[in-house]
Symmetry: C2
Subunit: 416 residues, 2 copies
Amino acid sequence: MTVEVISVGTELLLGNIVNTNTQYLAEKCAGLGLAMYYQSVVGDNEERMTKAFTEAFERSDIVILTGGLGPTEDDMTKEICAKVLGLPLILHERSKQRIADYFVRTSRNNITENNWKQAMIPEGAFVLDNDNGTAPGLIVEKEGGCVILLPGPPNELKPLFEEKVVPYIKKRSPETICSAMVKLCGVGESRAETMIKDLIDTQSNPTIATYAKTSECDIRVTARAASEAEAMALIQPTVDELFKRFGENIFTTHEEETLEQAVVKLLKQKGLTVTTAESCTGGLVAARLINVSGVSDVIKSGYITYCDEAKHQILGVPSDLLEKYTAVSEQVAGAMAIGGAKAAGADACLSVTGIAGPDGGTEEKPVGLVYVGCFLQGDTVVREFKMRGNRDKIREQAVVQALDLLRRRLITDMGE
Amino acid sequence: MTVEVISVGTELLLGNIVNTNTQYLAEKCAGLGLAMYYQSVVGDNEERMTKAFTEAFERSDIVILTGGLGPTEDDMTKEICAKVLGLPLILHERSKQRIADYFVRTSRNNITENNWKQAMIPEGAFVLDNDNGTAPGLIVEKEGGCVILLPGPPNELKPLFEEKVVPYIKKRSPETICSAMVKLCGVGESRAETMIKDLIDTQSNPTIATYAKTSECDIRVTARAASEAEAMALIQPTVDELFKRFGENIFTTHEEETLEQAVVKLLKQKGLTVTTAESCTGGLVAARLINVSGVSDVIKSGYITYCDEAKHQILGVPSDLLEKYTAVSEQVAGAMAIGGAKAAGADACLSVTGIAGPDGGTEEKPVGLVYVGCFLQGDTVVREFKMRGNRDKIREQAVVQALDLLRRRLITDMGE
């Protein structure tokens, strides 16, 4: 089955926002085993929208339209869809009631005649109730084709797609599609691909797709079969092979689990606390740990020590160490980790010191040189990295390497 | 003049990456006064690419093609463009030399026959030398139309566009396009638009476009005229009007200046230092300040105090205050700011304490309740916010509000 996405919105054509909806839908559709050959963006213009939609409906099995479902006259996605498909728009009573309820629930009292426009649906459409806004999602089937209309705001689009469209597509699909996610870190973005190039080159069922992030890489394995059990049986050997190749670089096989969640889970399991002593990352390591909800048993405090004086005063890094080796050194990274743990009374401490640039590099200590330290119950390990990219990118990589160092030590030094 | 963007790449169709190139190009083109009616994405497929490009070339004055300029057989953007335009591909000697030089410069010795494919250009094309990769950019003019080919990696595409395509488009344009950027913070995303709805509704020349970010909003004013002086004269009254309406919400009119840069600049001008005392933001305020290169005169340290104990021990927040008012209170936010400044010996301290959720909210203190404190040379100010959104979004808003509070105090409490 083929699918394509048409995003409607002047804000995309003006570059006011990035089209994250299409990336989300593309990734989800790939996971459902749908083939996507086109993505497009058009503005709120009747002629251009009609042309784009007509063409898409002719060439693809499923057309997903996002945006343009608002209450104003500019919003015409639904109207054009109904017109092209030759369907009248009729009032959908449940949606009307839900819109009225939404205004009450969110303490708004500015409902206008316009808002009822959002309760109009193409005759025969299947309505997807929207809990986070006033525009319902819609699925319209016609002549063997299928059109899915979704509101533009991501916090409305995503739950509707996940909870309502995914089950619909699965039911509609002649086969069962299953996928598994294998998430890695500590492997360079392109190295991960090289390491499985043979698997990618020979893939058919299951298929393998990699999703690179900064110093992390997600690998999705997708299989199609007559039943879920058969699909999972097709997936398993590939997942096993990935474990054989990447070993402990794999931090989770849970799609929604982040690296910081994996680290926090390990710390909780072992009843350990952690703190941070950061220089060039300036608080980002702690911020990412604290991004996990309910982390207060695990991290109680953290230190940002950007200058030598703070490294000495707050973390107790000896002045002669700072003088002899300078702040960006293995020795100081180690002393920061030890000092941070002591200051906070924590079982573990992650330290980061490096040259994030663009200034401050020397021939001996160039921009991108980063030391990551990890104190864990008495033992300290320091790793040296030579990172590429701009200031932001170097800091991001340093954060991932720090979290990953602690994760590895928690699984290897201490046993699972 | 109309322009459209076609991105070529399977990784976009699979959702492996977000299409940030198109957003970048769309924003830049809007700033150049070009009208963009379409954006599309196709894969490395001859038939579909040919159809998409042919259609685009017919309907738009300028077509920008990104991606598919690599050395492999899959990469066929240039080949298809040349074929549709009826131009032969010829070897471009300077590009060949540059490719060879690039391999030497980046210490690679794996140059292959394939790589010379990147030195082939459609006859008559104008070559844009690429300093950051091996694929040159190209501009091809034919039948009054214009095609611009750019490599996909953003760190290659952006400098090429900025340094070479922008001057080309400006020269080609019958008019001069100028724009000014006005950047605000502390005004809700939709409130900024409401406050200038009348200007937007009646706009023609100059035009006004808003670019909303979390708790920040950029407003671009663009005018077209026969000369730069005339265009700037058209822009100025609108910029003046924006200053009248938004006043000190405006933190800069420099396109590239960020909020944290504006804050650091003010601190440097006044010779002041700052520190941070963060709870729910977990280091993000400090991280954003330290995102500014060369900030070491201004911020030397910061504290993350996620639990009550750390607030007491590190910042000296009195225990009875924490017991009586709880950590998320105006009183504790104030004490954190005072204690942080004292601990660090800094002139100023930003503190943040709040309930970022999804758990931990109560009826009295719901998720989204955030207190931001600012100590500045003896005086402490605390602001209460009720923020919406998920944990991430609440934390992001809190960071902006904290930076903005300091900025306002630096310009009003102390005079410009």
